[in-house]
Symmetry: C2
DNA sequence: TTTTGTGAATTGCTTCACAGCA
DNA sequence: TGCTGTGAAGCAATTCACAAAA
């Protein structure tokens, strides 16, 4: 049932971008798209687009291109977003609260259904979101993960606490972590994605400070 | 004066991670570190670490390793964060406000010194941050960029407005963009870094939904 | 025509393995 | 001994180029 393992990681990253662009095309009522068109909109070659998609199946139609709606369905299935995912969030600081009410998650089928913090003054508060949610104690995590079938966690906490919280979240039964703390997590065979906001600015400053130009 | 162009992009990305780890080591009073140690903490091989650093110079000491404080200075210089950068932020929604008060930026020398929005009810408001800032009209951008010597912009705006705002920001004199909108920007020879929060969750769902495991 | 899917060629990145230095 | 810096080897990803299909 698992897909073949010869898929380059960069191809999987681009799959998300293809989906995003396809959804945009669908919104503009465009019914088919060529690999050249799709690639141009993302700064990729047509060959790259075709090769990436071909890792997962034959979705195109020679002479026509790809049917937008059809390909959306396929890519969602490949990415696993044809079903919805329940997500928990740890860390109710500014960033955590902002992500709670971020509509982009729900649009893609990710639903923040539980929120945690270790600060007693925050626990019990109701935070806004698509559905308002009461912030829970960390101790209640395992029970909540089980009862709500949560499989993903978003960590918006200070670097010093991140590893401990990650361990706890995994122990509670979560399978994947989106980590905003500026540390690399020791991961015990679980999926981890990291977003370090400062790192991205550093990459820009490198490029502007003689890095390439 | 520019560094040679044979540097792989992945090496530059890792440079930020090395710096983060080195700063952590410095905080714990560790004075030297070997490529093996540094690599292990980031899930990289020792050879990878040495090769990455060697693209930029000879910083190590055979038999000793790398002197932590010394290497921090060098890496900051390479990344361009030995000097501070003025940054503007467009889009005062939840995410924008959260980033305004995010301490991680200032810690790395990035200072949000101006904020913009196109919503009349937000313009003129004071938003919190390291220094509180008054939200300006988009029309004032060019003047502000020049007077405060702003070189980077962070965009936390809806996808539909992103390209227009990016064009405007570049016209105002900004040289690099950190884009949180879920669209790929047509970039006219400027540096762009993209953070799409939903994309990261999709990568996790792929890995959990039979993608590799 | 137009456009896909794909083996072959190419480019790029990582790992190996070891000389040289402390 | 312990460790770096680096050419050479190996592996991975991208691009090329063309047969096949509509």
């Amino acid at each position: 049932m698992g897909k073949p393992n010869g898929v380059p990681a960069p191809a999987v990253r681009r799959l998300s971008l293809y989906l995003r662009q396809l959804e945009s095309l669908a919104g503009r009522q465009q019914s088919t798209v060529s690999s050249r068109q799709l690639g141009a909109s993302l700064d990729l070659t047509d060959a790259q687009v075709r090769k990436d998609l071909a890792y997962f199946g034959q979705f195109g139609h020679p002479g026509i291109g790809y049917r937008v709606e059809e390909l959306i369905v396929q890519v969602r299935r490949i990415l696993g977003t044809d079903k919805s995912w329940n997500v928990l969030l740890v860390g109710m600081g500014n960033l955590g609260r902002a992500l709670m009410s971020y509509r982009g998650f729900a649009k893609k089928g990710f639903h923040v259904v539980a929120a945690f913090d270790n600060d007693a003054s925050v626990i019990g508060q109701t935070v806004d979101g698509p559905r308002p949610i009461v912030v829970q104690r960390m101790e209640d995590m395992a029970k909540t993960v089980k009862s709500l079938n949560i499989r993903l966690a978003v960590l918006t906490i200070p670097a010093g606490e991140a590893q401990d919280v990650a361990d706890r979240v995994l122990a509670a039964g979560v399978r994947g972590i989106l980590n905003f703390a500026p540390v690399t997590l020791r991961k015990a065979d679980c999926a981890v994605a990291a977003v370090d906001l400062a790192v991205h600015l550093e990459q820009l400053s490198f490029r502007l400070a003689g890095g390439d130009a």
